[in-house]
Amino acid sequence: MTRFRRTTTRLFAAFGIAVIGVLPLMARPAAADVILTGAGSTWSAIATQQWIADVARQGLSINFNANGSSAGRVYYYSKTSDFAISEIPFQQAYKTPDGETVNEIANAAGRPYTYLPIVAGGTSFMYHLDVGGQRVTNLRLKPLTLAQIFTGVITDWSDARISADNGGRKFPSLHITPVTRSDGSGTSAQFSAFMANQTGAVWTAFCHKVGIPDNPCPPTSLYPQFTGSVQQSGSLGVSSYVSAGYGQGSIGYVEYGYALEKGFPVASILNHAGYYAQPTAHNVAIALQGASFNADNTQNLSGVYNFNDSRAYPVSSYSYMIAPITTAAPFTAEKGTVLSKFILYFLCAGQQEAERLGYSPLPKVLVENGFAANNKIPGHVAPPAINQCNNPTITGNFITGAAPPPPPGSNQNDPPAGVPPGGGTTNTTIGNGGGNGGGNGGGNGTTGSGNRNGNTTTTIAGSGGGGGGSGNGTAGNPAGLLDNGGGTNTQNAASGQPISIHRSSGPVPVLLYVIAVLLILLVVSAPPLLAMVLRQRAEDEARRS
């Protein structure tokens, strides 16, 4: 008993000494530095975390908690974090169904704030559609058709409205599975904001159908479930679903980087200039030049959705940083200096990384807006002259020079580039197809470079779009489809995007997961198993002796 007591006392003493020794170590960093805390958007989190890591090398300490836009705004007005990042601004007063009034603007009144742009990007529409063993890679959609697909109005790939967008090409009859996000998401918010603005009637009718009473229906971060759709959690969940073997016939919205990673095509969306554009970083930055601001510096994206440039990708938007403009607790002027340095970094040099991270650099108009907002922050650092800002859209030629012109076949009056003849038709259809695509001959001549499959030219395929009218007889002619196989890749080459179509990408990640699980199992199970074997051996020996 006494020995036990002595041991216990010693243990307690050792623990106490350890705690006393560790405490000052834990306390020191908090006292020394200014640590800025932020919370909010998961959509912009990849870029935000990268920039935070970049400025950490300059000695700026920022903690960012990617807990969702709504939580970010709540953290801001409940004084839990210094700044917030959100896709949507503070919400005006509204009544919940139980008669409670929620007024985020009033809640945040105790901490005056400004909005400034932080991350821009396009919402891309990744799809999985094989026709006669060939993957379709040149789908084109009007905003209205797109909205009708994602609201359950158009439910089949053979729908005439899809054919009309694709130069008359009729896809085989196959159920469209729209894949939306099951969790709260900025991607859902941005896409529904686009629909609410551009195709308001379709969106509001959809809201009423699923039970949302508002009129007009506002954008939502939680995409409503509807008959025929599938919901998955996370962008990775959506892109994995679309790219899986069972994803045939599905179309989902994700950030462009996820589609590139899976090697799957994304739909070209019709812009205001009458061209179908891809969601490249260039095309998004070009569209965002049309951004304008409301009186409270919130975004007005009508000008982006309707930007009149043949290259602009219409479903483009940006997320906000919500930054305090007074030193109301918990903010201070010292924190303001750190925040301001961070802002000036990500508005300028940080945007160099945007494209690599799957986003798009902020164009000049948004950077200038950000500079103006920066100047309202207490303790701010003066921004550089705008032409000194090392942002690829300002000092580089990201928008003017480097951005490729719209690829041929992207004008709405042209048939899409590289369309193989409608399934089941023979090669002779190609010749007949000229009727619709005749006006496009010159344009097609310029595209042939870089064709992956070694097909020499795309002119055949380009004019073949006209032949799409010849019905949806299913793959009756494998030879004909094989001949035109190169055509499906042409559009990639033409628009300069590295979408590589390797269809065997599925098993490799799966194998990795299996290996990872096995490794974890091994790590977890090896020590106790080893211990057991050793104990067994010891017992056996004891018995023997």
């Binding site: 709504s70 939580a71 699923v210 009473p213 939680l222 899986a244 699980v517």
Partner: protein
Amino acid sequence: MTVLDARPIADAGDVPLRVVVRRNPADRVYRGVARGGGVATLTLMGFIGGFLLLRSFHVLNARGFAFLTEKRWLAAQNGPFGIAAVLPLTFEIAIVAIVIAVPVATVAALFLTEYAPRRVRRLLTSLVDLLAAVPSLIYGLWGLFYLQPHLVHVSKWLSDHLGFIPFFHVQNGTALSAFTSSTFIAGVVVSLMVVPVCTTVMREVFAQAPQGEKEGALALGATKWGVVRTVVLPFGRGGMIGGTMLGLGRALGETIAVTFIISPFFQPRASILANGTHSISALIALNFSESVSNPTARDGLIAAGLALFVVTLGVNAIASTIVARSRSGASTEI
């Protein structure tokens, strides 16, 4: 020394002697700690239930029965919301999991207690326990990326050949995508997590089958299977039911693996193979981050959590009652 009382005994009445126990300090501290621990567990449980009720009361009050009859969940969009679809679907997933897990767990427990050689038994027992230690996130990822692409073919086969049974009927079941993210697939993944829980409980109960009766059965010429059938299984019946219920409790609350696999759906239905299902815990996980700014939506989710808490508590209470009864060997007294 006791001093004898001179008065007549009858006057004292039938008052029992008061026994005063003087405990030493160590004993008193030990009792205090033990009692405190027991009380703290109950208090904590009470506080959790109380918190859920307190936070969700205004929502439950405002919505009344509509909370139990409304199928959709559009709280964050200011639409109607209720648990009429989510709660039954939660049970559907859990029941699929139990239907798969219980036979596996029963056979595994029987093998471990009756058939396995001693060395193998210890190894396998700890392996089963280790299965319970694998985080559910791992099961979820594995289920989503490995199991689902294979299971959809099983689903399609079941639907094609046994589609006349309502459980296996799928409308428009031509494309494989109609079979993804279903109750069945979620249930299979959850069953993997339930098996170790059930096996452990059943193994303990089977191991307590009285040796004398087992030997008696053998002496009367019973085969090994005869012993299992006439002694072990009847004795362990309570344990089997208890293990099943404990597994059900686990299955009802499983969150992250279900969240990965399901595609939310708001209509209770018999078909377990069709795309779309839901569970309360997945509902909370998926909606919480975008519901925190809206008190009705946030507290609505807490109300759904309260429903799950009550249901799980009930299931576990029944389970532990049954397990406790079986420990005394009551179920053998036929």
